[in-house]
């Protein structure tokens, strides 16, 4: 009897956490639909979703966040895969080299934001070096890489941390495929680069797309980098949500929850695509003995 109960007892902490998570989620969804009885809001409505998808400043926030998330994920993935390719083809996928490459993963995003400010701001290290070389006459001539409306500084900070993440996420599979199937391709007459692009890369594609999605969803929902490095306007979705949440008028809270709801919907969609990609990848690789 005790043996039978053990698995369920072991699951209790997880179940408790899940219950808390679900309560938060359901409350959030209910509030995004305008149901907060304590504030006298009792009728469910899609009004707040309509607002965030039509109000110009909200729409700008949505597009701004999507753009930052997309380009952060795209550039991180592209650079990460390129770095992976170099490491795999030079057979440096283990040991000291990998530890150095993956070091930025453990650095918190807030610290990365401070690095970016110190290096890329108009009075940062880069601006001073360029000034010292006489390439600019004064600090204002240095391009505004941070606090810019294009989100360049935020993307830069994400790149610093997410390129190593992609390496970490992809390299084991890539090294394995390249070591076996890549070797087979070379053995059949392909050059190393040909073998990589014709065999290794296509077989890693689904894992790479998954890595892209993870970064995309993370960048879409993360608060600290857009808060520290973002422009005054437009504001990123999580920042906007926080502002709405802490708004003195408590009846603004459904806006915050609708913004969160939007992030959640995009994340859920991405999770479904991620799952489908992983299944496809497993199926694809299962074809090989």
């Amino acid at each position: 009897m005790r043996k039978k109960l053990t698995p369920y007892i072991l699951l209790v902490p997880q179940i408790i956490l899940t219950i808390f998570f679900l309560i938060g989620l359901i409350t959030g969804i209910a509030q995004s639909l305008g149901v907060i009885p304590a504030f006298g809001l009792t009728e469910p409505t899609l009004f707040y979703y309509k607002e965030i998808l039509t109000k110009p400043d909200m729409v700008r926030s949505v597009l701004y966040s999507l753009r930052i998330a997309f380009f952060s994920a795209l550039f991180s993935t592209a650079a990460g895969v390129l770095l992976c390719a170099v490491l795999v083809m030079s057979r440096r996928t283990k040991g000291r080299m990998m530890r150095i490459v993956q070091l930025p993963i453990v650095v918190p995003h807030v610290v990365v934001a401070l690095f970016v400010i110190n290096i890329c701001s108009q009075n940062g290290l880069l601006a001073r070096v360029i000034y010292a070389f006489g390439l600019i006459g004064e600090q204002q001539e240095f391009p505004a890489l941070i606090y810019d409306a294009g989100g360049f500084g935020i993307i830069l900070a994400y790149l610093w941390k997410e390129i190593p993440f992609i390496v970490y996420f992809v390299i084991a599979l890539m090294a394995n495929i390249d070591g076996k199937l890549g070797e087979a391709a070379v053995n059949l007459g392909a050059g190393k680069v040909q073998a990589f692009f014709r065999v290794t890369l296509p077989l890693c594609a689904n894992t790479i797309y998954s890595g892209f999605l993870i970064i995309f969803v993370f960048a879409l929902g993360a608060y600290e980098l857009p808060f520290i490095l973002g422009a005054t306007t437009p504001k990123a979705l999580p920042v906007q949500a926080y502002i709405q949440y802490t708004h003195p008028d408590l009846r603004n809270r459904p806006y915050a929850m609708a913004l969160n709801g939007l992030i959640m919907a995009i994340s859920l969609l991405s999770a479904c695509v991620y799952l489908a990609l992983m299944r496809r990848s497993q199926k694809k690789l299962a074809g090989n003995k």
């Binding site: 392909a190 077989l203 090989n288």
Partner: protein, 322 residues
């Protein structure tokens, strides 16, 4: 094409795995590298293909030194033990892969794929996905893909190890047929002595990264250079005769029911054959005979029998005997 290996040494880090390997393979020969797991057969094969660097020694293909020549420029193709078919391609695309690398026109690729699929008895399987194929079919596709690369030297790294006995024999025959039809020079890595004896023109027996003996199947079986080689091809009896120790294989001993050389200690029925152990004053003698012979003798444990040595194996005399 011919292959010559001289004093080859290969190491993984500080560990040397091949020691002083020398081997000559003539054009059109079928050679088996035979030995137990971990003896260095696959390492030797990969070194020939250029997938592993030699520490010292020479590899020559058709008289041209291969040290430093890239794998894709050597004209050698390995069929790997785990086959390594590309799972994202169909059978046809796998076979066409080496041709597309060589830039052969699509039309010719298609013709060659059809011809090779026919040769490996898989006609009509062009569009079949790899995961939809059986183990035997995948072996055939791997063979066809290797042939599509038009190799000067075909290297087979235990490609049949995952197959059942019947399929294994079938694939062996197919390989031998393809070897002859395509005029290939073939090196087969195997640990199966029957496979090596059956298909090879010559056998190179390896142990611990060294070459123990390189000879024709008949000679390596009859004239092993030492006990290790002799015993690799089957159990041996070592009997003292006139002050000399001679090696005798179990099938080369005839049991004479009317004799009185020893007592039957054990009889093990094994289907077509039977194993019999006889205790003699010279030691225990292990014999094998056909089960039908055993039945005709009507022999049982405890009976006194005679033993007659039909022929002995000249262990350690390979160089002097011809």
């Amino acid at each position: 094409m011919s292959l010559r290996i001289e004093q080859l040494n290969v190491a993984f880090g500080k560990t040397e795995v091949l020691h002083e390997i020398s081997l000559d393979i003539a054009d059109g020969e079928f050679v088996s590298l035979l030995g137990a797991s971990g003896c260095g057969k696959s390492t030797l094969l990969k070194s020939i293909a250029g997938l592993l660097e030699a520490r010292t020694g020479k590899i020559q293909i058709d008289g041209r030194e291969m040290n430093g020549v890239l794998p894709e420029k050597r004209g050698t193709v390995i069929v790997f033990q785990d086959l390594r078919l590309f799972p994202h391609m169909t059978a046809g695309k796998n076979i066409a892969f080496p041709m597309s690398i060589q830039g052969i026109p699509k039309e010719r690729q298609k013709e060659t794929v059809e011809r090779l699929l026919g040769q490996v008895q898989l006609t009509g399987y062009e569009n079949r996905k790899i995961r939809e194929m059986s183990g035997g079919q995948m072996q055939r596709v791997a063979l066809a893909r290797a042939l599509a690369a038009n190799p000067r030297l075909l290297l087979l790294d235990e490609p049949f190890s995952g197959l059942d006995e019947r399929l294994r024999a079938e694939m062996g025959e197919l390989v031998r047929k393809l070897h002859l039809e395509n005029g290939l020079t073939t090196v087969l890595v195997t640990h199966d002595k029957q496979e090596a004896l059956k298909f090879s023109d010559r056998i190179a027996l390896m142990s611990g990264g060294r070459m123990l003996q390189y000879d024709t199947p008949q000679r390596i079986f009859k004239y092993p250079v030492n006990r290790e080689v002799a015993e690799y091809f089957g159990r041996m009896n070592y009997i003292r005769e006139k002050g000399q120790e001679i090696g005798v294989r179990p099938f080369d001993i005839r049991i004479v029911p009317s004799g009185n050389d020893g007592m039957v200690k054990d009889i093990v029925f094994m289907g077509e054959t039977a194993e019999i152990r006889v205790d003699t004053p010279k030691g225990e003698v292990f014999c094998m005979l056909m089960s039908s012979e055993l039945e005709a003798m009507d022999m049982s444990v405890g009976d006194r029998v005679g033993i007659e040595i039909l022929r002995n194996v000249c262990v350690g005399m390979a160089k002097t005997e011809e």
